[in-house]
Amino acid sequence: MNQIIEKELESVVIRFAGDSGDGMQLTGTQFTNAAALFGNDLATFPDFPAEIRAPQGTLAGVSGFQIHFGSTAIHTPGDQCDVLVAMNVAALKANIRHLKTGGVIIANSDGFDAKNMRLANVPENQNPLTDGSLAKYDLKTIDVTKITRSALADSGLGVKEIDRCKNMFVLGLIYWMYNRSMDSSINFIKDKFRKKEAVMNANLKVLQAGWNYGETTEMFANRFKVAPAKMAPGVYRSVMGNEAAALGLVAASQQCGLPLFYGTYPITPASDILHELSKYKHFDVKTFQAEDEIAGICSAIGAAFGGNLAITGSSGPGIALKTEAIGLATMLELPLVVVNIQRAGPSTGMPTKTEQADLLQSYYGRNGECPVVIVAAQSPADCFEMAFEACRIALNHMIPVFFLSDGYIANGAEPWRFPKQADLPKIPVSFASERKADEPKFMPYERNEKLGRPWAIPGTKGLEHRIGGIEKQNITGNISYDPVNHEQMVHLRQEKVDLVANYIPEQTIDSGPEQGDLLMLGWGGTYGALKTAAGMLQREGYSVAHAHVRYLSPFPKNLGELLSKYKTVVVPELNNGQLVKIIRDKYYVDAIPYNKIQGQPFMANEVVAKIKEILA
């Protein structure tokens, strides 16, 4: 056996890339679970095409999964990767720009044959594996297909089924490279294929073959160790944003004691919330897959009228269709949570790519004066808390609330020190109680100190009343075209939103000085990149702070004052400048927009460079 040197690393970024049918998402997820169970901090970034099986071998069909894991705090999936797994030449071509100089390429040579070269538009007589163009990297060429096929020659499986095991070879090899236990993947395979023993055994065999390949060949001189991260003590799990959002909604339903009704229509990247919730019927979760987006929200409004914790979920194009109904919910003054997992737009845009371009839509995208409450999650695990918060505010204030997430955090994963039910606040809800004939008439638009109206659900004696989209007379709820009443109601609905500021936490500084040269004011899924960039700048001695807004309408009461403590305010966003418009409008601060609109998250390095440029 050759001499293998073991090296200790602080953090590593691996990018798995292959054809969208190569199982790279699964491979990445498996490695993520193993890293999480080992105790590393981590962040992931799945980057895949919208087509389930995009044209094989082409650049458009490349599916990638990047994981950044380490023994230190990790907040982003990493700007550049240390290891690139390329299952074919298209995957290499599409991803080589993400690889650090000197980084390792693990290339499946079978994916570099003449056909693959042609599909990836590589000029004839060129082969990156042999023409020296990859000289600045550490290239490891392995015929994964051939090895997999020979390992499974006696398996009795067909070639198609055998080739589907290729990703397990890569996974086994990477496990070996980073000294990882394969137990979690072994258990996964055993469970997933428990009814197909031949396929189960084939996957297990190839996984082991990958490990053995690293162990026995002399191809790899180094093996790496990444120690567990020093994280706050507690019990952790790995969680993806949409999973966390679904759990947050269920938790809110349990804490308020009302059944959860989720009316929705499938759409990328929000569908996983429906998939999750539809499994939880025993938690009194009712999922309704409607005939369209409009029916999704309207069914939720019906359920809200009936006394359920009502939620609808979608992404930008679907939210556009729900617009009129959000206006109705605002007039009805019923609790409703509208989940928007943002994606790159407009129109169909780029469904699997991330963007934060629906903030103004949430704020202003309705006819008439129609203010709503808006909260946004900042990381995969934070989706739990903010989804819970959206429900709390909707129920406590009898108001529609937007919960914003985005494709990046929805599909990204991170370790989560999850709460116990006992630590979660209760959400007290009380319905209006029945009345006898001799009691005063029920007033459906009577208001409490939060300006909320009574929630009088059908079936309650003596509270028969009518609500609707036509302007209401305050207190009585009767139809009213009275000019002064309309103006009063418009003000009341705005005030109702504004009052929520008394029931949310104040804005805090995430890192950096409490006053200084520059504040990066972010919101949503850019949190990790901005936090990392702020840390880098602070270590270099810059007077730069980072604050991340999770409550966007209304803003925390102290936000204006906080902004005034810095000479410069920069608002980095994955859009063409949305939060910055609202900040400039509301606080009269000369905030500087910093925008990226490529369907890709910020990289910490580019943020650092931009901030330095602004400070120069």
Binding site: S184, Y236, I301
Partner: protein, 341 residues
């Protein structure tokens, strides 16, 4: 179901809101019939909910002293579906018009029927857009001259009964504003059916489409132009009940009872979908020679198909039984956890 101690009267269902339909509007009659039937159903008032969309007909909930929602155009079916699925013990009614349900809300309408959710749907068909002041609707006859079709509409019209049967409705009936007794009977039948009950009501718009259904409703022509279907009885019509419908294979023919015995006539069978489909196509222009009379009554009823709200909640209850008391801590923790000390 609770027993109502003090018997309700129609007055109990009259709200304190002033009714604002045009004088002579057919809607008044429908409101009156609903308020007449509801007290007799033996159900507490607070269990009734009326959901509507937009249009003249959709003002209906304001005039009923029940729970109600006047929602947005075309969406009543979706809202009512959400309410009924989440609160199956309520009696949920949907009030809609030909613009609301046949046009902007068409998608929700067919999917409501496909699901067979237990709603009672009153479709006020006046073959015109009234609230927007007189444009042709999807049920207006081709060639109709209106504000938006000064040279005559070139649109073919929808046949709501045929559409409903095509969408697998389990209860389909037709009635008219000018026949209170028949209307009451249809409303009651709709209530008694479990599943989506569709009642198409020919309703006169006295301002923008006055007399659209005159041939069916007025004394001089009613007997000749209408066919009142009753289960188990032969299809008979005409001035002196002297005409009937006979089936010649799958071909309906009009016969004179002086020539054909009543025993040989088509006997109406509400449970026969094929025959209901044939009857739904009795939709000729009454001006055309040899046309069939327009059928009224229950076309079709399928009492055996489980309703959506039933299936929806049954499944939830089954999963609850199967999985036992839910444990939120376990759910949040997921399958794999690790401890950091």
């Amino acid at each position: 179901m609770d027993v109502v101690d003090n018997k309700l009267t129609s007055k109990d269902f009259v709200s304190d809101q002033e009714v604002r339909w045009c004088p002579g509007c057919g809607d008044y009659s429908i409101l009156k019939q609903v308020q007449t039937v509801l007290p007799d159903l033996g159900r507490p008032k607070e269990e009734f909910v009326f959901i509507s969309g937009i249009g003249c007909s959709s003002r209906f909930p304001y005039y009923m002293d029940t729970y109600g929602m006047h929602s947005i155009h075309g969406r009543a079916a979706a809202i009512a579906t959400g309410l009924k699925a989440s609160r199956p013990e309520l009696s949920v009614w949907m009030v809609t018009g030909d613009g609301d349900s046949m046009s902007i809300g068409g998608n929700h309408f067919i999917h409501m029927l496909r699901r067979n959710i237990d709603l009672n749907v009153l479709l006020f068909n006046n073959q015109i857009y009234g609230l927007t002041k007189g444009q042709y609707s999807p049920t207006s006859e081709k060639g109709k001259v209106t504000k938006s079709s000064p040279y005559g509409s070139v649109d073919y019209s929808f046949n709501p009964v045929a559409l409903s049967l095509g969408a697998d409705a389990t209860f389909v009936a037709r009635t008219m504003d000018r026949d209170p007794k028949h209307q009451q009977a249809m409303i009651r039948r709709a209530y008694e059916h479990t599943g989506t009950s569709l009642v198409e009501i020919y309703q006169n718009c006295s301002v923008f489409n006055d007399g659209a259904f005159e041939v069916f409703t007025e004394k001089g022509t009613k007997k000749l132009e209408t066919l009142f279907m009753e289960h188990g009885k032969p299809l008979v019509f005409g001035e002196n009940n002297d005409k009937g419908i006979k089936l010649d294979g799958f071909k309906p023919v009009i016969v004179n009872l002086s020539e054909v015995s009543a025993n040989d006539l088509w006997i109406h069978d509400e449970y026969d979908l094929v025959k209901a489909t044939l009857l739904s196509r009795f939709y000729d222009d009454p001006e055309v020679e040899g046309h069939f009379p327009r059928p009224f009554g229950v076309f079709y009823v399928n009492p055996d198909k489980a309703s959506y709200d039933h299936l929806f909640n049954d499944q939830i209850n089954h999963i609850k039984e199967l999985k036992g008391t839910p444990n939120l801590d376990k759910l949040i923790a997921g399958n794999e956890t690790w401890v950091v000390n």
